[in-house]
Symmetry: D2
Subunit: 142 residues, 4 copies
């Protein structure tokens, strides 16, 4: 399977198909990195006006996937194998969540990246995640 | 703040308020353990008919919280600080997700537990998570 | 590469070669599980008479490896790709560390297991780890 | 307990006492960051001439601790509660391991940081870790 970076438009179209439930928007993608944005509305809030943990985990997962697609091209068979997240600060209830991913390894069978999650416009991260995707092998396109 | 186990009815009522978006149902809760069930419908599926990762992460988070409430009582201030999940097998698209949590530590300020996630009725786990909750301190009830 | 469980004697001999610096002893090994023991002496202690974190991480890593070898046979090419550990309680300074591993997945390319770590003879775990090994592919024995 | 950054000399002296077995040298420390170096010799190698995983985990743990001490001052009671590490590439057997830590949160009771680990002089990280330390509370100096 050839590995050619996908453009932002290609990635955005693919994510819309693959994660039809996600409201995440692809803001930036380039080899080795990506930024996605998740609007925050009533559905994402918990009492106290903060964004729920699973929403943050979902943003981290999508940011990783987008960065991988932007690096090796559209890979419908790439799947998350591991995700670890630290929740650092209470997200604002009235700001979108921004997930900025940087890949730290893209190997033959595994890609690993880290994601910093922010309430849009604020400096300090609300969470930090590290995740691994298993990549389809070079022979799987046989 | 007194620490008395909460009953299944008390926990279920609290979860319905605190996580209003979660469709998780509390099936079992006792000191140190809990089982929750998340129905699977179109909204939880990805192409290929499998349950999305963020749904599994959400079930793990709720299972941990339910086990903690069932052990130390209703604590609206308990928050997840860390969650790590391994995705092991593709979940079935036509079965509910069951999350079975066992707490491995309930300390003064932190509780740690592990959660095995299953497609209901199948033996092999689809994912395994370990998470930490920060607990409100004994003095916070002042 | 054939996958046949290795015996305790085979695993112990291999570990002595592969991890020559580890003082870990293989106490039990069977398909899907293993127990190893790490003696505790002056070299493992930190001020306050407790066992250092890196020692616990090392025991978890060896326990995982032993369980994998006991399940799929001697695999010199298996390598740890990820390890996550929670430190739960202060280990006793005068007791060996026991690591009990249970594999939760042994796939074609990845194996995942959890390890409970104890001060020998005490009931409550001092730490809990989850780790992943990358396994050499079936074609790598070519 | 007052929280004043400690100098490199203060941190180095403390680490030598607290982790007497570690050969790690403190190369750099400043509020929010630290770099430590672990020489590599025969004792750190596994067959194949690579550095063992537990050595890398130990370097990550020390780098985190040094960064915390450099930020909030000498805290003998700070303890690791969680560490998660991804092994990315085979370390060189003839180069020291460098651990560069950046703290991403220093709260009242928890500090979280990430550590990139390198074979000295090479650009691509051999491992990446994220860890949490529990900090002694402000009242514990009573």
């Amino acid at each position: 399977m050839s590995r050619q970076p996908a453009s932002q438009a290609e990635v955005a179209a693919f994510i819309a198909t693959e994660f039809p439930q996600t409201p995440c928007v692809v803001r930036h993608v380039a080899p080795g990195e990506a930024t996605v944005v998740h609007p925050v509305g009533q559905a994402e809030l918990r009492p106290g006006g903060t964004v729920s943990g699973p929403v943050l985990m979902g943003v981290a997962d999508v940011a990783l996937y987008v960065a991988i697609l932007g690096t090796i091209g559209i890979q419908p068979m790439a799947v998350t194998t591991q995700l670890s997240i630290n929740f650092l600060r209470k997200p604002a209830g009235d700001r979108a969540i921004v997930g900025a991913c940087r890949l730290i390894k893209v190997g033959r069978t595994l890609a690993v990246g880290e994601v910093s999650l922010y309430s849009e416009g604020l400096d300090e991260p609300v969470a930090h995640a590290v995740g691994t995707y298993a990549l389809p092998g070079p022979t799987s396109a046989a």
